[in-house]
Amino acid sequence: MNFNETLKKYEPVIGIEIHAQLKTKSKAFCSDINEYGGTPNTQVSPISLGHPGTLPRFNKEVINYAVKMGIACNAKITEIMHFDRKNYFYADLPKGYQITQDKTPICTGGSIYIKDDKGNEKTIELTRIHMEEDSGKSIHDQDPFNSLIDLNRAGVPLIEIVTEPVIKSGTEAYNYVSEMRKLLRYLEICDGNMEEGSMRCDVNISIMPIGAKQFGQRVEIKNLNSIRNIQRSIEFEICRHAEILEKGEDIAQETRNFDASTGETVAMRLKESAHDYRYFPEPDLTALIVSKEYIENVKKTLPPLPNELYKKYKNELGLSDYDASNLTESKDIALYFEEMIKLTTNYKVAANWVMGNVKSYLNQTASTINSFPISPKILVDVIKLIDNNSISNSLASQKLFPELIENPDQKPLNIAEKNGWISKNDSSELESIILTVFEENPDETARFKNGEKKLTGFFMGKIMKASKGTADPKTSSKLLNQLINNEV
């Protein structure tokens, strides 16, 4: 049974857990530096090493970040909460327990919007968002006889974002994780780098016959280090489950690892001897209270959110779905565009400039918009020059734009004047150019006069060349048609 046939018979049910490392300066429960890539075991202290007698002290910025995410997802923020201990033994967890939130997650409910397989808007409901600490890192492939432990990551603050089982396909999962990553980046609370592990995803998946009420046996997939691999692993699992069910066999409850080189998942451990994490309230930390005023204050610090901007661009500015998505892909680009549309109502042209010249310059120079030399105001000035026919679109984009990159403080109009790029609207000047073109191309002129309309392009090209691109196309084409009729 191939993938498409499978989807005619079975319905996947998918939930996703995202662990997002918060980019606070220090760790969650002690002041160790929170930074990726440090020399192993240098960003540690007796607290993160789990030495006896040490006590955790909670970083207030973690609440701020978690509340930001909660507000952005329209979740309910818990007023009174505490931390819990999740107990298990593993070498990269020196205390023997992880401080997390079991009973009182900081956020419950909430949702975000994504696109489904057909491109329609779909709501993905969240179950919860809670705060917890990361574990250290185990390295298994450097030493043949030992595993090595680096505790720099131990105690780094995380939020775990859990969806309801409402995701229905690999594409939806891809869109959901992309959207969440965008949101985390807009809020500047997590850098969303899956390769470095600052954002990690676990997928829970089962399939059931279409229309069934009872979910199938669930499997968890781990080790997903890119958004594309999340989608691949889901599509692989859907087929694997269907094959097992078609044979009349049962799906084992287990955790599976995704192998990106084969595109397959491999069983990691059976969940039969289920963990008993023996959660209980963390007695070393006081209760937390998040007041209404606190939430209101955090709300005031939120940047515009991608979905709000997307809807504004599409519905209010009348931009296409593609343009609106493209412009809101990164916050910095969107904010640049926001500055432009304060100064011009020519939204489509502004969008084209940002997505065209500006983005390709950023790509070519591997730079970000924050170091882009041309200010939004200057770029709008360029658009205005095009709008009032002072300069042709192609001269503006091919000549003026590179010149402005070099001289971002100069007025576009001055640069255009100095270089003779101002459009020639002046009929007498254009007239003499056109007449010269006629003289130089007698054959074509005769054929054009005899009604060979397809030569318009040929003549416009010659006129543009003769005027070095400054001939205003509208005026030129009008004049061209008048003059050809006067030709003898």
Binding site: T24, K25, S26, S31, D32, I33, N34, T39, P40, N41, T42, Q43, V44, S45, P46, L49, R57, F58, N59, K60, E61, I63, H82, N87, F89, Y90, A91, S138, I139, H140, D143, F145, N146, S147, L148, I149, D150, L151, N257, M268, R269, D276, R278, P281, P283, L285, T286, A287, L288, I289
Partner: protein
């Protein structure tokens, strides 16, 4: 409530500890005594009483987000029974559990 040997084994397994038969008997005895003690406490009516989580009424005892280095790598590794100059070393594990 009385515990049996399988509970002792389960708890030993979760604690990554191993005991011989004699020890298990002693532990089972101790644990049952502890449970008897709790049983006495359970005579108190605690319906409608919120569990006490914190021994202090202080809330939001928080720290500013300032990063500091307090110990060196060498100090961090000092007490480890097995290490090199960079890492803690543990017996080889392949994947979690």
């Amino acid at each position: 409530m009385k515990l049996d040997e399988s509970t002792v084994e389960r708890i030993a397994q979760l604690s990554k500890l191993e005991f011989n038969t004699e020890e298990k008997v002693a532990i089972l005895n101790d644990m049952n005594q502890m449970l008897d003690f709790i049983e006495t406490l359970q005579e108190v009516d605690t319906d409608n009483v919120e569990p006490l989580i914190h021994m202090t009424e202080d809330v939001n005892v928080l720290r500013a987000d300032d990063a500091k280095t307090t110990i060196s790598q060498e100090e961090a590794l000092t007490n480890a029974p097995s290490k090199d100059s960079t890492y803690f070393k543990i017996p080889k594990v392949l994947g979690k559990n």
